[in-house]
């Protein structure tokens, strides 16, 4: 674990660069975390992040990928409701990379 200065804040990050204190998240932090992943946040990127955060607020876990793709399909159009599109947005994987930017803990297990 390490303290890192980012977006004008002292952030607690774990070994993989995920926030350990979810309270520290805000939009600037998301932008800064996205930069470390080489991602420029577009509106579509934000749709994913916002949905992840809403889902997490309710269920304390990231959604199943299938739930995420379906939701994105509803929001951005059916042709975008698939894993391929999500990987275009987040090449490191929607579960891991998008969760990091959304300030969620890293999903670990057999995933």
């Amino acid at each position: 674990m390490a303290m890192v200065e980012m977006a004008g804040k002292q952030l607690d990050l774990d070994e993989d660069g995920y926030l350990t204190n979810l309270e520290q998240w805000d939009k600037q932090v998301a932008d800064a975390l996205a930069k470390t992943e080489g991602i420029e946040m577009s509106e579509a990127h934000w749709e994913v992040v916002n949905f992840l955060r809403d889902y997490y607020a309710e269920f304390k876990i990231a959604p199943m990928i299938r739930i995420l793709t379906k939701e994105i399909g509803k929001k951005l159009g059916k042709e975008k409701g698939n894993t391929k599109y999500l990987y275009e947005l987040y090449p490191g994987g929607p579960a891991k990379q998008a969760c990091k930017i959304a300030g969620l803990p890293k999903p670990t297990g057999c995933v």
């Binding site: 674990m1 070994e15 993989d16 309710e58 269920f59 304390k60 876990i61 990231a62 959604p63 199943m64 990928i65 299938r66 739930i67 379906k70 894993t83 990987y87 090449p91 490191g92 994987g93 579960a95 891991k96 999903p107 670990t108 297990g109 057999c110 995933v111």
Partner: protein, 497 residues
């Protein structure tokens, strides 16, 4: 593909023996477990002061308790036949990843402390103390073994490096040196019932989502029941099936099979995990505790049978250890195996003609099968020898028109590990995972180029997760990875039953 700071091996099948590069993967190390993760599982929170003594005592205890471990440490004749059989050696060229060299990391300490020659002649007898340096080698190279047991197939004495690795990890945990990935996950099973940490409300909503989704696509009322008392079958799956793709496609497949067969089943929120990482850390008490949740759920839900999903190492735990650890299963219906693999269940129905299958639903696919290590080399399935190989293949052949075998030298008991098994499916080891996948990926690539294969089916959640992440490094699309029940799901006809 993702940027890398390491060289990606060139795929060649049959795989070439690499030039030896001392220390080629010595920089790859694990994230240590934190204090909280360790104390939760009863391990020391920090490395204990007298760690050398403690570790040697533990090694002594383990070698006395498990005769096989002592034999494995005693009988190696250095014939070298295992040396080029490990995917991590083939992928990295690091000589410490030769199975015999990996074993030597423990053997030299064993000799020094437990054999007369080693005590008297020290390094002349290739004996060494467990120094800081040696412990560092242990941490590194016992986390570069996926416990796949391929080496043991080629050893004239059947020496099983996996068992040595498990013992090494158990010894390290006992002195307060542990791997974050495995220990964190074991902690989550105890808290939430599954490796991913999915709480019950999330599980409920996920299953409701799937019911709706299947209804939309097929029109059928396929159920995904949770915690239903009195169901005939308790279905226990790796929790990745509730989260990842392509895992979920097999989950849908299981539910459709139960629906078509008219057999009532339920998932359990208490035992929402089939995986059992207790095995990866060589800890029987943890293995027992994790498996115990499943038996508890079976009692609570008053089921008659337990059927388990597509998960390789957990099948080994269930098949080889459940009875001793958490048996007997005499409270279940004795007319069925306990536990029963979903592949046995489905194949039984297929053979009886009880499922309506339309193979043409899979006509866009030319399918091959990847044998997962723990199923292939550490367990069986069904009631005939080799069932663990034939049953999943029979299902694929019954559901797909185009099925192709992998080359013999990487197939059945000679299969190569996906590169992510044994508790190594973690991002800090990505370089190792990519390199270790090379031998199997090379065979797959050849099948794609020569035979038009476009999917590789498997029955292991770790293999699925690992391959979807690492195959793209070799320009093989992640969609190439599938679960066996995904093809059942495509082919099965859910008309009136």
């Amino acid at each position: 593909m993702a940027k890398t700071d390491f060289e990606i091996p060139k795929l060649e099948h049959p795989v070439k023996i690499p030039a030896i590069m001392e220390g080629a993967s010595s920089h790859l190390s694990i994230h240590p477990a934190n204090e909280q993760m360790k104390t939760k599982l009863g391990f020391p929170e920090k490395r204990v002061d007298n760690w050398q003594e403690t570790a040697i005592a533990k090694l002594g205890e383990l070698k006395d308790k498990y005769r096989s471990l002592k034999i494995f440490l005693d009988v190696c004749v250095k014939c070298g036949s295992c040396a080029d059989k490990c995917h991590y050696f083939l992928g990295t060229g690091d000589p410490n990843n030769m199975p015999v060299a990996r074993q030597e990391l423990m053997r030299k300490v064993y000799r020094k402390n437990f054999t007369i020659g080693g005590k008297l002649f020290g390094s002349l007898a290739r004996a060494e103390d467990l120094t800081e340096e040696v412990l560092k080698e242990w941490v590194t190279y016992f986390h570069q073994c996926s416990q796949c047991r391929r080496c043991s197939v080629f050893c004239p004495f059947g020496i099983d490096t996996a068992e040595i690795t498990m013992a090494a990890r158990e010894i390290m945990d006992s002195i307060g040196v542990g791997h974050k990935y495995s220990l964190e996950i074991i902690g989550k099973v105890h808290d939430t019932g599954n490796n991913l940490g999915i709480p019950k409300p999330a599980l409920t909503s996920t299953l409701e989502f799937l019911e709706e989704d299947v209804k939309e696509t097929t029109g059928a009322d396929v159920k995904f029941p949770l915690d239903v008392e009195g169901a005939e079958v308790l279905m226990v799956v790796p929790s990745a099936d509730f989260f990842s793709s392509p895992h979920v496609d097999s989950l849908v497949g299981y539910a459709k099979v139960f629906h078509a067969a008219g057999v009532s089943f339920t998932f359990s929120s208490h035992a929402s995990e089939f995986a059992n990482f207790g095995m990866f850390v060589g800890n029987y008490a943890q293995m027992q505790k994790i498996a115990g949740r499943i038996v508890q759920a079976a009692h609570d839900l008053k089921v008659k049978r337990i059927v388990v999903g597509e998960c390789g190492h957990a099948w080994r735990v269930a098949y080889s250890f459940w009875n001793t650890l958490v048996g007997p299963f005499d409270f279940l219906d004795q007319a069925h195996p306990a536990p029963q693999h979903i592949c046995e269940f489905t194949n039984g129905l297929i053979k009886r003609g009880a499922l309506k299958l339309d193979k043409s639903a899979n006509d866009e696919f030319t399918v091959t099968f990847h044998d997962s290590c723990n199923v292939a080399r550490a367990s069986r399935m069904g009631d005939t020898p080799g069932g663990q190989f034939e049953i999943p293949r029979e299902i694929l052949k019954a559901t797909c028109n185009k099925y192709v075998e992998m080359p013999e030298e990487v197939n059945r008991e000679r299969t190569f590990c996906c590169g992510g098994g044994g508790g190594l499916l973690t991002d800090e080891l990505m370089e190792l995972r990519v390199k270790g996948a090379a031998p199997k990926a090379a065979a797959l690539k050849e099948m794609m180029d020569e035979k038009g294969v476009n999917v590789m089916a498997m029955i292991c959640a770790i293999c699925k997760a690992q391959f979807t992440k690492v195959l793209p490094y070799y320009d093989i699309p992640m969609e190439t990875v599938g679960g066996v029940h995904q093809f059942v799901s495509n082919a099965i006809q859910l008309g009136d039953k």
